[in-house]
Symmetry: C2
DNA sequence: CCATGTGAATGCGTTCACAGCC
DNA sequence: GGCTGTGAACGCATTCACATGG
């Protein structure tokens, strides 16, 4: 059974919830109170997993986590890299979740050779022109794009021709990329707008 | 006519696109090539705006921008604040888009009184215990929540009882909040996962 | 009563198809 | 041919309703 996209997003959020909460078992009613989604849709979503995780007394959290990870293909480590080692990029170099989590930071890139040599980092750093070989060599799938606005598109182009599959874009631009490349924009103004349209009010 | 949620999200993205591109006029076919959405749904989305912006030769970009802003209630400034003035929070204090854009930074808060007094900032800073009065006084609608993980929930509780309407949460926790409070989580691991499930592949 | 799971029914968002216009 | 705009048709996601089990 193909999982509908909205259901995938909910399952992703549910996974996050399960990873935090300390309980061993959880019912759809309980999840409803935590998320606001209907019991029915929660049961349906979980049923898409086609795994044997529910009993008459709720879901086994451990089994449910694994089933979601498996169904959404989050059950293997993926390699990532950082392009642009300014303030933001170099901060992510030492982000602890990239050292023990499911996303393994494999390399950092910057056009400034000097910066590449001077920065201390737990992973190897390279000048930008080595992106092509390194990304293929390490099988890097996703890149954080942390370069200044005016360099974002050209850096993205290099990443794409190097074979990247996904980009987390921190620059306030809309990247042009072929549809098979997954792009996600992280920019505070977008978030504020998205929140604004969800805030109900007298005059809104 | 009530605008469907998915259409709202597309319109928000379209607005961003319009604000970047320098053209004066745009057709649905052109937007299709920029976004990958179908011409049909684009026309339908825009028709929800019920504004007179399309002609036989495409849409007037200026009128379209205004119509989207109006329909999504983005046609007025909203006040925001920052809670937690560590690395991230204090960086946003001086973020230029908060000085000329549609979101006006009105205040910053931190539990550490010393930090509140020492930091230089273009907006007034207050100790946390003043949140209640200040948020009401300035009609602040949205807060950036930049405190450490273990303080996120209690800070959120204070914001909510002070009357905040939306929260951009940078902490890697799931905030408990009543449904009428809009919450948006900004956390890189979530973005990476969301990208991962959209990356097609042989073994995915 | 509580729970999961699932086919069937509902309802909503997208797509279609065509009218109207340049 | 190009374009917008829109009711109608379609298809998919959610909800319902009920079977099954403790």
């Amino acid at each position: 059974m193909e999982i509908p996209d909205p259901a995938k997003e909910r399952l992703l959020y549910l996974l996050k919830l399960l990873e935090k909460g300390g309980t061993l078992t959880l019912t759809s009613t309980h999840i409803e109170s935590l998320t606001g989604w209907s019991r029915d849709s929660i049961r349906k979503d979980i049923s898409y997993l086609a795994a044997d995780i529910g009993s008459t007394s709720g879901y086994d959290v451990f089994a449910l986590k694994n089933a979601i990870k498996k169904a959404l293909h989050l059950d293997r480590k993926r390699k990532i890299c950082i392009v642009g080692l300014g303030r933001l990029g170099s901060a992510y170099l030492n982000f602890s979740a990239f050292q023990y989590g499911d996303f393994e930071l494999a390399a950092g890139f910057d056009a400034n050779v000097n910066r590449v040599e001077i920065l201390s980092s737990p992973v190897p750093l390279y000048p930008t022109y080595k992106m092509g070989e390194i990304i293929g060599w390490f099988s890097i799938e996703i890149s954080l794009l942390c370069v200044p606005e005016d360099q974002a598109q050209s850096a993205a182009d290099k990443l794409i021709s190097a074979g990247i599959r996904g980009i987390v874009n921190f620059a306030p631009v809309i990247l042009k990329a072929p549809p098979e490349i997954a792009v996600r924009n992280v920019y505070i103004i977008d978030d504020l707008r998205s929140l604004s349209i969800r805030i109900p009010s007298e005059n809104n």
